[in-house]
């Protein structure tokens, strides 16, 4: 499985994702420069966290025009795996690859802290190593991570089962007090209808080793790595 990690100017989780892919999971790693439209034969493209282009104007608003994004759009259309984490999720929403938007945290403050999320889909290439209704402990680190969608879009997401992660308490109860940023329906991560484009606010690459406070995130990387054979790019 060859992972591509996109680097925009202002991206900073690229090296953390790269570390986990290379050192923890033992996958093949390829950094993808934003000005380069060539995806270099990657099987899964990660849009990592950061402040791409400074996030001026609006988070992800400028990044979506980068040359690499056009290729990523086509790659997704062909069924390729695209994984947006934090800023990457914001960019995917801006680019229209995922519905909805991420707006300012309800606290109006940046939040860097551990959260719990309930895994609601385990039939995806990103989550196949997770158990049914697993509670995963993952950190967030964002100022604009409150998921928002129009009521109609939101109910479509729910009806289609496109919510992958939902903020919950340590016991798996999805309650308002477990919602760190005011996301509608406690949404922490969603998938597109086809099941190949994932966006999530928590940082799995920051919790792939126990010495960093938790290793739940490694399951997602292992899921993708283990699905190498199943991915079929048409």
């Amino acid at each position: 499985m060859k992972f591509g990690v996109v680097v925009f100017p202002g991206t900073w989780s690229d090296r953390d994702c790269g570390w986990v892919i290379d050192q923890v999971v033992g996958g093949q790693l390829q950094y993808l420069w934003h000005k380069d439209a060539d995806l270099k034969g990657c099987d899964c493209v990660i849009l990592p966290g950061g402040f791409a282009y400074g996030d001026y104007l609006r988070t992800g608003a400028i990044a979506r025009f980068a040359p690499v994004m056009e290729s990523i759009g086509e790659f997704a259309d062909r069924g390729g795996l695209v994984w947006g984490i934090c800023n990457g999720f914001q960019i995917l929403c801006e680019a229209g690859l995922l519905p909805g938007a991420l707006i300012r945290n309800s606290s109006l403050e940046f939040r860097c802290e551990w959260t719990h999320v309930m895994v609601e889909r385990t039939d995806l290439p990103f989550t196949s190593a997770c158990g049914e209704r697993d509670v995963m402990r993952m950190p967030i680190s964002h100022g604009e991570g409150s998921y928002f969608a129009e009521p109609a879009a939101l109910s479509r997401l729910e009806q289609n089962g496109q919510v992958v992660f939902r903020y919950c308490d340590p016991n798996g109860r999805v309650v308002p007090s477990a919602n760190p940023n005011g996301s509608l329906h406690n949404i922490a991560g969603i998938i597109n209808k086809r099941g190949n484009v994932l966006g999530m606010m928590p940082h799995p690459e920051r919790c792939a080793e126990a010495e960093l406070g938790g290793a739940d995130g490694v399951k997602l990387f292992r899921s993708v790595a283990g699905n190498a054979m199943k991915v079929l790019v048409s």
């Binding site: 402040f51 400074g54 939040r111 860097c112 920051r206």
Partner: protein, 726 residues
């Protein structure tokens, strides 16, 4: 002859002007006067403190680079060097808290980058007036630090914040950055090689921040808000690109040196870079400097403090290579001059020479000021006999836990990204932060400390305490203290009492750093933290310290870990209530002398903890500091989510109960250990001549001293976590 008003504008005094004329054998022109003014400002020249600073120890086995460069550097093992420095941004933060703090962070990051190191961590030491009055400063500064650090992707892992009336008009914002570089890739900002090119890279130059360094060297007054143009505006995104481009420079040998443009902008960076090479000079042409606005004079260009700029010395003929690296990151770079061997900084505007000054006059020419210190009235003494005995330890503990100086800092550090980099193995909230060095088992511990109330009561002893506490914080993670960076924040040294404080502070720092074998490898002095008609700030010598642990798998944290572990007090307690938080919170007074400090004993206790940690005997360790043993114990419980049951505390005379609970005797730790470790701990106790006493046993959800009081963790947490939110 210039008039006094013009001299005041550039912050020079008539005597200094006379020296300039004498050395140049002519009057300086306006551009030269401005350049000399900024470089001779206290902020750049250290003319008041330089003679005293020489007393600080700066050498040691591990030291690779001491003071005088952009940052200090020490070897930490396996070919790695840690590069670090702390710097103040007090004056700008008083006027414009968000940008002042943000650009303080940006500036210290560039200092580390200039050494060839990748910045891996930030810490911030902050002082404000009490809340809610100082809300504007507090909110702005915290947001500014987060705004910059979060965007650039360097974790903010530690620091401290205290509140006191003396900082109401003069908040302190000291930012520290730590970076990593291979020992053989460590760079020095020396303009070597006549004919080599000087390239300016990063942001275009604007009119922002002109006279910033001079402004930082005078007292604040009512017109200070008019100085807002002297405060710079930060662009962390640009600096992130600059950072990555500078890291890419490491792949080429075309670069001779990199120098940050900070206070006094182009003037100081060119002069300092040349000044480090005997006989070297530089020629620059301001017409070649990329600008962000029209109508800028040579004076403006030379003095601008626009942020996110670096000076790069490039081997002649290889400029295009370097330019390409910056272009990759969409950064502007321009050759603006070259290195000469005439010992002068010559500034052209096209064909015209607009300034020509000897480098050594700029960097080293400011006459040192030798002031006289007078010790002020001693602070009110503390008569323990007239202090009412402790009435209700539980209520006192709750009030102390809720006090703004002791309560949980989580509302602050959760606004900072402290995890990016995948290296933070001990996060903020405990004693020191600890970061792993990827690819090794090494861990790097870091902290900042200063109890300025102690320094107010006794500047010499207070400064020693700052060093000792920083060392204890490092030791509490299992790391051994290695080296120090210091930021001396004081009031106007022209007042004899303040100059005395400066002398005493430096003497105390020197003594403690020598005794604990931690050289000071970098630092900064910020004077004139006064406001008209207000009392001056306490002397606040912030100590930033780093330490190293050979295997971070052996690291310790403050929180209790296991039910049934023994909870122990290492070190012994005395009636040390002078200057304590207990005295301030419970009795409303600041009096007495700070606790006595025996540096040899500090060393012994530290060695015991490190030996026990290395042998794997301990499950947790936490330094006893402000608030004393009971507050430290409560923190161990709150951080670990585990209570403790203790027999009644019955101190032996002459130790008072209030002092046993809340006294601030140094050289003490609270540790926890499994019962099987006890025999070995007792052996260590005898070997190091350090007392270890059993406090109680970990477990449950309360803190209990049998027959004395019992408090639930929930109740304590409510007080502790609400201290800053109210």
């Amino acid at each position: 002859m210039v008039d006094d008003r013009r001299l005041r504008e550039v912050a020079l005094v008539p005597d200094e002007y006379r020296v300039i004329v004498e050395k140049l054998r002519r009057p300086p022109n306006a551009v030269e006067l401005g350049m000399l003014g900024v470089l001779w400002s206290e902020h750049c020249s250290y003319k008041t403190s330089k003679a005293l600073l020489r007393r600080l120890p700066s050498s040691g086995e591990a030291v690779l680079q001491g003071p005088g460069e952009n940052a200090g550097a020490v070897e930490i093992g396996q070919g790695w060097a840690a590069v670090f420095k702390i710097e103040s941004h007090n004056h700008p933060s008083a006027i414009e808290p968000y940008q002042g703090a943000a650009t303080g962070v940006g500036g210290i990051i560039r200092d580390v980058i200039a050494m060839g190191a990748r910045p891996i961590a930030l810490l911030d030491s902050l002082r404000f007036g009490p809340l809610p009055g100082s809300r504007r400063h507090f909110d702005g500064v915290v947001a500014g630090i987060g705004g910059y650090g979060n965007c650039i992707g360097i974790p903010t892992v530690g620091g401290e914040v205290y509140f006191d009336e003396c900082y109401e008009q003069n908040p302190l914002v000291n930012a520290m950055c730590v970076g990593l570089v291979r020992v053989d890739r460590l760079m020095r900002a020396r303009a070597e090689g006549t004919g080599n090119s000087l390239m300016l890279v990063g942001a275009d130059t604007g009119k922002d921040g002109i006279h910033g360094a001079s402004f930082a060297s005078v007292e604040l007054d009512e017109s200070s808000s008019e100085r807002r143009p002297a405060v710079q505006v930060g662009n962390p995104f640009l600096e992130k690109c600059l950072l990555e481009a500078c890291m890419d420079l490491g792949h080429t040998d075309a670069v001779v040196a990199v120098q940050d443009l900070g206070a006094a902008g182009l003037t100081s960076s060119v002069a300092e870079c040349a000044g480090r090479v005997p006989g070297a000079g530089a020629r620059i042409d301001v017409a070649l400097v990329p600008r962000r606005e029209r109508g800028m004079t040579p004076y403006d260009v030379m003095l601008s403090e626009s942020q996110e700029r670096m000076l790069v010395v490039v081997q002649r003929g290889r400029e295009a290579e370097v330019e390409r690296i910056f272009q990759t990151w969409d950064l502007t770079s321009a050759v603006i001059g070259d290195v000469t061997d005439d010992g002068h900084l010559t500034v052209f505007d096209g064909e015209t020479v607009v300034a020509r000054l000897p480098i050594d006059l700029l960097t080293d020419g400011a006459p040192l000021r030798r002031l006289a210190g007078i010790s002020p009235e001693p602070p009110p003494s503390l008569h323990l006999d007239s202090l009412p005995p402790l009435v209700d330890a539980a209520q006192s503990l709750l009030r102390l836990l809720a006090s703004p100086n002791l309560c949980s800092r989580r509302p602050i550090f959760r606004r900072y990204d402290h995890m990016v980099g995948d290296s933070t193995v001990v996060p903020p909230g405990g004693d020191a932060a600890l970061l792993r060095i990827k690819g090794t088992r090494l861990g790097l511990a870091m902290t900042t400390d200063c109890n300025a109330r102690y320094c107010h009561l006794d500047p010499n002893l207070g400064a020693q305490h700052a060093v000792a506490e920083a060392a204890r914080n490092i030791v509490a993670t299992g790391a051994r203290p290695l080296a120090v960076t210091d930021c001396l924040n004081l009031a106007n040294p022209d007042r004899p009492e303040v100059y005395w404080e400066l002398e005493e502070t430096i003497a105390g720092l020197a003594q403690a750093c020598r005794a604990l074998e931690v050289p000071i490898v970098s630092g900064n002095v910020s004077l004139y933290n006064d406001s008209e008609g207000r009392s001056p700030i306490h002397p606040t010598p912030v100590v930033g310290m780093i330490g190293v642990i050979d295997d971070y798998g052996r690291r310790l944290e403050a929180g209790l870990q296991h039910e049934g572990d023994f909870v122990l007090l290492v070190g012994s307690s005395h009636n040390d209530l002078g200057g304590s938080e207990y005295l301030k919170v419970e009795h409303g007074t600041v009096a007495g002398r700070p606790p006595g400090l025996d540096l040899a004993r500090e060393g012994a206790v530290n060695r015991l903890i490190l030996a026990a940690a290395k042998a794997g005997l301990l499950r947790s360790a936490h330094d006893c500091a402000e608030g004393g043993m009971l507050v430290a114990l409560a923190e161990c419980c709150l951080l670990g989510g585990l209570g403790v049951r203790c027999p009644a505390l019955r101190p032996e005379l002459p130790l008072r109960l209030d002092a046993a609970f809340f006294g601030e005797t140094p050289a003490r730790f609270i540790v926890s250990a499994p019962s099987r470790a006890m025999p070995e701990l007792q052996t260590l106790s005898r070997r190091h001549h350090v007392e270890i006493s059993l406090l109680g046993m970990a477990g449950g959800e309360t803190v209990e001293f049998e027959g004395q009081f019992r408090l639930s963790l929930a109740e304590m947490r409510l007080a502790w976590e609400g201290g800053l939110v109210r």
